[in-house]
């Protein structure tokens, strides 16, 4: 239903804009470098720039933005901090000193010793929210299990007296004595070594934790280090040496993760990483088993997953080799008249949609001036070029994807493709939300004999399943991506060349060729990722050339059927490219003059290939002359089936003209093209692709996240044993929140003792108005006193749940 609405909205918006304009709303974007967030705000205030595409987390700057009606911002999450405990002991073999944090109960008690509200409010100035679990509060898993999380959060609320009591009891069991308020073990004070990162707020967190530990009788040493200096101690060093007890860790995720179940296995078990610290983890057998099952998706339904998840959340708190502190809130400021999409995790630079939605008011055309903290950091090439978030933020507007990422839920929507069929093995826990995917549950997926499964790098031709697996092959998942009929008429490369099937086939070839030693294009650095790919890949075929139909077989699957439907559309790891400009780079690498990957470039002592500047351009220019003279076609034995000599000639000519005009080889199919990159001046000039496939406004529905606002009305006094009704108002920007955009509204009743008494589902009455009924039999179980009614509203269009609570009194 929701999917239908969103799909209709996307199509309607596209139709509305179609008559007037294609591509983005603005004509050009000028991007400059501004490393200082304070300076950027000053520039925004005087309208020297329109958008600062950076995740600012400075509370003082946030205050400036809030106080200025001419400025607005986009919120994002994705950074989170924790305490990493050294679990070795209770006595370090390396030093003979006591390590209290080898005891799970002491680690668990640390959860209630610290005050996460203090950290988020005082240290982060409100730019953070308390975090208890290895899942992000703004991502779907937290919303799925909100009631479980809330109960545990209350259980582990700040209670320093209880923490002291538990820690004292455990310390005494270890043989330590508290003399004059100080813990003594074998005649010496118990020293806690805090390894503290000094580049950001974690320095203050470290000081705060140190003060707390000193307050309960420990002697604390403070070791302040940068990331690089701390790494050999906590990450690659042997924890048995006892060089640290606690490390102030930090993590980041740049995409909205729809499935964070593997985090338990990664963060708490020795399977997480092959480092001495992780090897020292000894989770309880039950936790170990639950974490592994979640990691390997060993469950058959979402209900079974919920049970495992619930257990994991509880057990991870008991284990607490990691103590989660806060989810950091960041914001990307911009002038109020400009609207732009920001990803909930990756902000503006991490969003695929920002170039499509950026606009000044209702203006059509015009220029937007954007600043980023760093641009043109490393060479741009589509296979292994720069991976810096800001460079990628500028590369994305020049390319297009088969599907598009929903910046607020992480869900996928069709972009270049029209629809997809997913055939999934029936015993796998895969669900579907959106109606562009048709899910078919099957006993098994037989891979057809003519599907491509391998590549012969010498003969330069595909090997079919029939050749490699005469006995046959099956796959857990089969996907069929359907492209529109007019794909090849409506999609053109920026240099004017029409898209062709060869662009897609070359992408397939590269899956194998770069990782095969016999290939001229072999790159040793590709082998490990290739082996990962091989592990789950079961075949691919193109069943129709026009309209294009792309069929893919794999043993890899996700909880959402919509997630990662392979489309073959030529958007590579670091950008977009057609067979011609990609082929040019391949030719230059084969000539041993450049290399796509920095690894190969370093070892071969050649240039790391850049399509947009530096010595690479001259090399590419020379190679292009050779190619034009020979009318060369890359991987000719295969690609010649899809490229005629005339087409090849036209493409090379187009590319040469493009280079002559723009002085770079960066050619995509996206809504913007790279007009010019000024390397020394650190300026990137993007211009609107007037031939872009889609009409302006196609993705405007994602202009801003519809984070629900909730208010609770209704009974404040409830008679024990009587039914009570609570009214819940849900709005967005003052308007009723459409019922179909809400997945559910859960409510929880916490009794006068603070214990969870009931969990129920509110019922929709009309748009923006829901009702929760507390049944008489539940109210009969409550005791006299003050109770709390807590609501979690879970939306389907944005993954952040909204919490609200209200007190009510029960009486006889």
């Amino acid at each position: 239903m929701v999917a239908t609405l969103i799909s209709i909205a996307i199509l309607a918006l596209a139709a509305a804009g179609a008559a007037e304009r294609r591509g983005p709303w603005v004509d050009e974007i000028i991007v400059i470098e501004e490393p200082s967030d304070a300076a950027a705000i000053s520039r925004l205030e005087v309208k020297d720039i329109d958008v600062y595409a950076y995740t600012v987390s400075n509370p003082d700057i946030f205050e400036r933005v809030l106080a200025n009606p001419d400025l607005d911002y986009q919120i994002s999450f994705g950074s989170y901090n924790e305490l990493t405990f050294n679990p070795v002991g209770p006595v370090f073999p390396g030093t003979g000193k006591l390590n209290p944090f080898a005891v799970p109960k002491i680690r668990e008690a640390m959860n209630i010793l610290i005050d996460r509200d203090h950290i988020s409010q005082e240290i982060y100035g409100g730019m953070a929210v308390p975090k208890f679990f290895p899942i992000t509060a703004a991502f779907p898993d937290y919303a799925r299990y909100a009631e479980i999380c809330r109960v545990l959060e209350l259980k582990y609320a700040h209670n320093p007296a209880l923490a002291d009591e538990i820690i004292s009891a455990e310390m005494e069991k270890l043989g330590a004595k508290r003399i004059l308020g100080e813990w003594i073990y074998e005649g010496e004070p118990v020293e806690i070594k805090l390894l503290i990162r000094n580049e950001d707020e974690r320095k203050l967190i470290g000081d705060y934790i140190g003060n707390l530990l000193e307050g309960i009788g420990f002697e604390v040493s403070y070791d302040y280090r940068t990331a690089a200096e701390a790494s050999p101690v906590w990450y690659s060093g042997d924890p048995a040496e006892g060089k640290f007890h606690i490390y102030t860790g930090g993590w980041i995720t740049t995409v909205v993760a729809r499935d964070q179940a593997d985090n338990f296995d990664y963060f708490y078990t020795p399977r997480g990483l092959a480092t001495p610290l992780w090897t020292a983890y000894e989770p309880a057998p039950e936790f170990d088993e639950v974490a592994e099952k979640l990691d390997r998706a060993e469950f058959k339904s979402m209900e079974e997953r919920a049970e495992l998840f619930s257990k994991a959340l509880e057990l991870c708190m008991e284990d607490s080799v990691r103590l989660w502190l806060i989810d950091q809130t960041s914001f990307a400021p911009h002038v109020a008249e400009v609207s732009v999409t920001a990803d909930l995790a990756g902000s503006i630079a991490g969003s695929y949609l920002w170039p499509h939605t950026i606009r000044r008011g209702e203006e059509v055309g015009g220029t937007i001036r954007m600043a980023m903290p760093s641009i043109l950091t490393e060479p741009w090439n589509p296979l292994d070029g720069t991976n810096w978030i800001y460079d990628m933020g500028l590369i994305r507007p020049t390319g297009d994807l088969g599907y598009m990422w929903d910046p607020y839920t992480g869900m996928h929507y069709p972009n270049k493709i029209e629809k997809a069929d997913v055939f999934i093995q029936e015993d796998l826990p895969v669900s579907v939300t959106l109606d562009w995917v048709n899910v078919v549950r099957v006993a098994k997926n037989q891979v057809p004999e003519d599907a491509w499964i391998d590549w012969d790098p010498v003969a330069q031709r595909f090997i079919t399943v029939g050749e490699k697996y005469p006995e046959g092959l099956t796959a857990l998942r089969k996907t069929i991506a359907y492209y529109p009929d007019d794909l090849f008429e409506t999609t053109k490369w920026h240099d004017g060349s029409p898209l062709s099937v060869a662009d897609i086939v070359l992408g397939l070839i590269l899956n194998w060729d770069r990782a095969m030693e016999e290939s001229e294009f072999f790159d040793e650095a590709q082998v490990p990722s290739f082996e990962t790919f091989q592990r789950t890949f079961r075949g691919v075929r193109i069943t129709s050339l026009d309209p294009l139909v792309y069929e893919y077989y794999s043993d890899l699957y996700y909880l959402d059927a919509e997630w990662y439907v392979p489309t073959g559309y030529p958007y590579f790891a670091q950008g977009t490219a057609g067979w011609h400009n990609l082929g040019l780079g391949i030719k230059a690498e084969m000539a041993k003059e450049v290399a796509f990957s920095s690894d190969k470039a370093s070892k071969a002592e050649v240039e790391w290939l850049s399509y947009i500047g530096g010595p690479s351009l001259k090399i590419l220019e020379e190679q292009l002359e050779v190619i034009i003279a020979d009318n060369w076609i890359p991987y000719s034995p295969t690609l010649s089936e899809y490229i005629t000599p005339e087409e090849a000639s036209a493409r090379w000519e187009n590319l040469k003209n493009w280079y002559d005009e723009k002085n770079h080889f960066w050619v995509g199919t996206g809504p913007f093209y790279l007009d010019k990159a000024y390397h020394l001046e650190k300026v990137v000039h993007l211009k609107r692709n007037e031939d872009y496939t889609f009409a302006s406004g196609r993705w405007d529905i994602f202009s801003e996240p519809m984070i629900a606002e909730v208010e609770i009305f209704g009974d404040r006094t409830v008679q024990i044993g009587a039914e009570a009704v609570f009214e819940i108002e849900v709005t967005f920007e003052g308007e009723p929140y459409p019922t179909e955009y809400l997945d559910n509204i859960k409510y929880m009743i916490f009794d006068a003792r603070g214990e969870l008494a009931y969990v129920g589902q509110a019922e929709p009455i009309e748009d923006g108005y829901w009702e929760a009924v507390l049944p008489a039999e539940i109210s009969a179980q409550l005791v006299v006193g003050s109770n709390r009614f807590e609501v979690a509203a879970v939306s389907v269009v944005v993954s952040i749940p909204t919490f609200e609570s209200s007190e009510f009194v029960t009486h006889d």
Binding site: L273, A297, E605, E681
Partner: protein, 382 residues
């Protein structure tokens, strides 16, 4: 006065010998002296560069840091890839280890540091600057020479312009003040000299606040407007516009102290006995200034000029940061933070060569311009 004198060449003291061919004798003495000088400077340079290699790598401890960073990066990469996370643990381990091995080999970390350290030294001394380990130049090349050369013009433009302006203005202004000792202007400069205790970036912040944020007539930073003009003269005008505030900032931090110290320097020289004698002889003030004040002060001024000149090419990190000026200072700071040894060593060795060359040239210049210096001559004495 002794403190102001340059540390000129040592004067060999040899017993007097019978001079059969004084010209040849002088040439031999010159040759011997300069060969000794070249050798000593070369040895100093080798030691300095090797020390740079050791310091930049913390005597090899950086290898551990880099290995830790590589492992951490690969661990994070695994976390972000569901395909890797779902692999059996043993296979995942093997893959991670293979990736670590590749990265270690790429950075040469599979060879002992001591072996690599001599490689760094050899390449540096032969000015084979090679390729950076992490950094790339603005245009995307990993060649160290391009990393430096692409930033050199902008650095020189800003730093040299500021330096040359301050140097010559302060020189003439100091001379003027030394002639008008005790005047209002003289007292004003003395009063303003403490202003120079503030660094250029400090003034830069205020200048940006006032001229860019409040008045809006100057840019916030950068070296040219965006997008850069296509016509060269418009481009040049835009660069001039952008470098105005940083140059003023350097002026504020350096001009008054430079004038004050040089004016004091000239005043000291102008009270020498031979200056008094010249005055008594009735020479004109111009002649006294040119022959009796400026000439003996020339060696220390030239030394100061030459050494400061070669120092300019390294840029000024904080000033560049404040004005977002694409200079070498920022690159070097980045290289230090990333432990990019080839770039750090290249910077040191270029500066080392420039310094050694300058010192060597200064030795020659002293001999030419200062009549009191005679290399190797038994009568040479100050």
């Amino acid at each position: 006065m002794a403190a102001e004198l340059p540390s000129g060449p040592k004067i060999p003291q040899r017993p007097a010998a019978k001079r059969e061919n004084p010209a040849l004798d002088n040439l031999l003495r010159f040759g011997k002296y300069f060969i000794t000088r070249v050798i000593s400077l070369s040895i100093t340079l080798v030691i300095a560069v090797y020390l740079t290699v050791l310091v930049a790598n913390m005597g090899g401890a950086v290898d551990q840091i880099r290995e830790g960073q590589i492992r951490e990066r690969i661990g994070l990469m695994a976390l972000a890839d569901p395909e890797i996370m779902r692999m059996p643990v043993e296979d995942r381990r093997a893959m991670e280890e293979e990736l670590v091995r590749l990265e270690m080999s790429r950075y040469g970390l599979d060879r002992p540091f001591i072996v690599r350290s001599f490689g760094y030294l050899t390449r540096a001394m032969t000015l084979n600057l090679g390729r950076a380990e992490y950094l790339t130049s603005d245009s995307g090349s990993n060649q160290v020479k391009l990393i430096i050369l692409e930033r050199l013009p902008t650095t020189l433009l800003l730093m040299m312009s500021s330096f040359l302006l301050i140097f010559f203005i302060s020189l003439y202004f100091a001379l003027y003040l030394s002639r008008h000792y005790g005047s209002f202007m003289d007292r004003a400069v003395i009063a303003l000299a403490p202003v120079s205790s503030g660094p250029a970036w400090f003034y830069g912040i205020f200048l940006i606040m006032f001229f860019a944020a409040v008045i809006g007539i100057m840019p916030f930073g950068g070296m040219v407007k965006a997008p850069p003009p296509t016509q060269w003269f418009r481009y040049a005008l835009s660069v001039l516009h952008h470098m105005t505030l940083p140059v003023i900032a350097v002026f504020c931090s350096s001009l008054f102290i430079a004038v004050y110290s040089r004016r004091t320097f000239f005043l000291i020289y102008s009270t020498e006995d031979y200056v008094e004698m010249a005055k008594a002889k009735g020479l004109s003030p111009r002649a006294i200034e040119r022959r009796y004040i400026l000439r003996p002060t020339l060696p220390p001024i030239i030394t100061q000029f030459a050494l400061a000149l070669i120092g300019q090419w390294q840029g000024a990190y904080i000033l560049e940061t404040v004005f977002n000026w694409p200079g070498l200072g920022l690159v070097m700071l980045e290289a230090i933070n990333m432990y990019d040894t080839p770039v750090i060593v290249a910077n040191s060795v270029i500066f080392g060569y420039l310094l050694a060359f300058t010192v060597f040239i200064l030795d020659i210049i002293y001999a030419i311009i200062d009549p009191r210096v005679k290399v190797g001559s038994e009568e040479g004495r100050l």
